[in-house]
Symmetry: D3
Subunit: 159 residues, 6 copies
């Protein structure tokens, strides 16, 4: 039986913490959908097409099991439509766990056929969030080693 998992996020920008969790997911599942949530209300650093292109360039050569998709609306509805068995979420700090717990329980209630799988992020990336990356970058700090090189390049072009 082929197992398909989904790794949802806004990836604005993609960090090495995300890539680490995707690599772990690929060890566990036959197919991993990296699903970019299209959230019209937010004003992101990168547009949806820009983020899809970054995901494609960084992930496709390295992870043959990864498919990059976009979705709107309820995650569990998209899981049903795409016949997904598992939602992958990365956790490390207590703040992460605190944030994920009600989501896991709500998603389970909305769709009991999809199980959320919490994977522990690598130590090296444990404090790297997309928002902290943007804050440090905007203040002129180095983010080398915290995001893929392509992301740094594209962030510089945005300045």
């Amino acid at each position: 039986m082929a197992r398909r998992a989904i790794y949802p996020g806004t990836f604005d920008p993609l960090t090495n913490g995300h890539v680490d969790i995707i690599a772990r997911g690929c060890q566990l599942f036959d197919e991993v959908i990296v699903a970019l949530l299209v959230n019209p209300g937010k004003s992101p650093m990168f547009t949806v097409p820009e983020r899809v292109e970054i995901l494609n360039q960084v992930l496709t050569p390295r992870f043959p099991q990864v498919r990059i998709e976009t979705f709107e609306g309820l995650l569990v509805d998209y899981c049903r439509q795409r016949e997904v068995n598992a939602i992958i979420r990365g956790v490390r700090s207590f703040k992460d766990y605190e944030y994920e717990l009600p989501m896991v329980l709500m998603n389970r209630r909305l769709n009991p056929d999809v199980e959320t799988v919490l994977l522990v992020a690598s130590e090296d990336n444990s404090y790297v969030s997309s928002s902290l990356i943007k804050e440090v970058f905007n203040l002129g700090g180095s983010i080398d080693g915290l995001v893929p090189d392509l992301v740094i390049e594209r962030m510089r072009q945005k300045q």
Copy 2:
């Protein structure tokens, strides 16, 4: 590719919280080894053969993918020997998460090929630990619905 996971524990006694996590694991993996840790230093309520028999009677009819085994020594060594892809652990409270986090990181260091998968226990069983079960039972409280019926029966025989 067949995916094999391991769910380690002492199961003294097996609770409905354990059964809930095993059911979730069976949705995600082709085979789930329920692995009873043989810990010579402890004085358990049930002997290892008694616990294996309870695991067999409760789990085998319900979960065809489950295999019940015993192991000694380091969990990650047993994972290597049994060609296991994933360690399943149930979490709910912060205490659980706090306990699991260093284990996940140490096991990853000892064997990077095995990924730990944290699954969130059902609300109904979130406060049920084997030790609390034993404490309540020994004080004469009802544990109906918190452990499989067979476990209650065997605990009564022990009194």
Copy 3:
């Protein structure tokens, strides 16, 4: 001596988690004031009169000890004015507890005569917050069983 407690909130909307805590409060106190905080700065889903009406329709038939009131300004000042002995707050997750702790200590400093009583929410409602309810509803997810039926009806009318 009659004991009067207050259960403050914005109730936008009232959830079954709120109702659960109100029911527990009614077991402990002779009178429970459900006190809607009028917060002019926020843009709520329901107006204050709409929320008062929902509270009345849902709570009054079921809990004879409940009085529904609105207040502005400092909670502890309203407690003094209404001769209240206790503030009731529901907690479950660590996030809840983290949020409540400084409020308890600040309110105690501002008015040492009022004691805050933390009640643990039922497992079924532990992950249900008003904001998560609105988010799920707006994305088309089912909130049946998480809020009173009247609330679902009124939310549908708002769409």
Copy 4:
């Protein structure tokens, strides 16, 4: 309607943190049973009669609503027998909350008629546990202001 609450503990020894919670409970309930758990397995600093005597001398002059009792077995059974409405527990740190949460849920399951009320300890006593008191005292540190004077006197007699 008279409201009766219970404050269970081992009180070995009684600390000012306990006294603080008892004082808060007396503001909320008509009667507060301070219930000493008789736990035959432990080797306490003070015997049960010694602890009852200390509780009586410290609490009775100050809190007319307090009754001092001893109990064995399951707390919720004793609550049923004594027609108690509420269990009072003091919390402050996250460790306290972590410890209380599964107890609250288990006790609720065993006896849904008794509600647990969590009261937040005063800042002055937030780090004072009976075991830390004993450890500091045994190493020669001052515990003045952390326990009632009578307790210090009796601890000195034990040395």
Copy 5:
């Protein structure tokens, strides 16, 4: 060797919790730079010159080792420029610790020569944040004893 530490913040307004941490820092270091972060995006209660003046009036007479400065941009860059050995941060609640932990790790990565020192706030001030102070004050509550007297005076002038 002279040891120089930095205590960064927005101090809008300065609280007694801040003053407590500054006093503790002065016991540990030869010089403590109280560094006001100039954050152009925020709309503060007090302007930067007003806050500098308050810091000067409250801190200078009491702590000869304190220097009051303002900075923009990355804290660790300012540390390098000012030859600072240590960043001082006050913690008490878990929320504080959760907030500080990723900052400590990010700052260490950006500048491994500066160590962050976490000091535990006094019990009396453990729940006092600048934002809670403003909220209580705006609702008419007393903040006596939570901020220096000069701050109360200036807040009244702003009304």
Copy 6:
């Protein structure tokens, strides 16, 4: 003014997590006393003289500011006797923080002249405790890179 700090522990065995915190302490203080707590009640892996010898061999060549000492009784009394300004403690997980917080407050009460300084352990060592090291080693797992090489050598001699 020379600043003297103390880093207390049982060091049974010394881990790279301890060494990391000692290195950070040496950046902040002129002298760091590594103070081995002599605890007669425990049955350690290494005797006190063995642990002192390991501390000497590992730390003395690398950290000229370190002095290795042993102490009995209350830490704050030893601080007074040795004219110490600061107690250094390493933290990383919430469990660490939870454990340290009451100690910090109790020690401050017992001796207000000594301030506790919490330093955040490096990511690489964040899950390494002496007891986990012993558990893994006893089950045959590799502890290379988690403790100094000398400690591995001495642990092998103990087997």
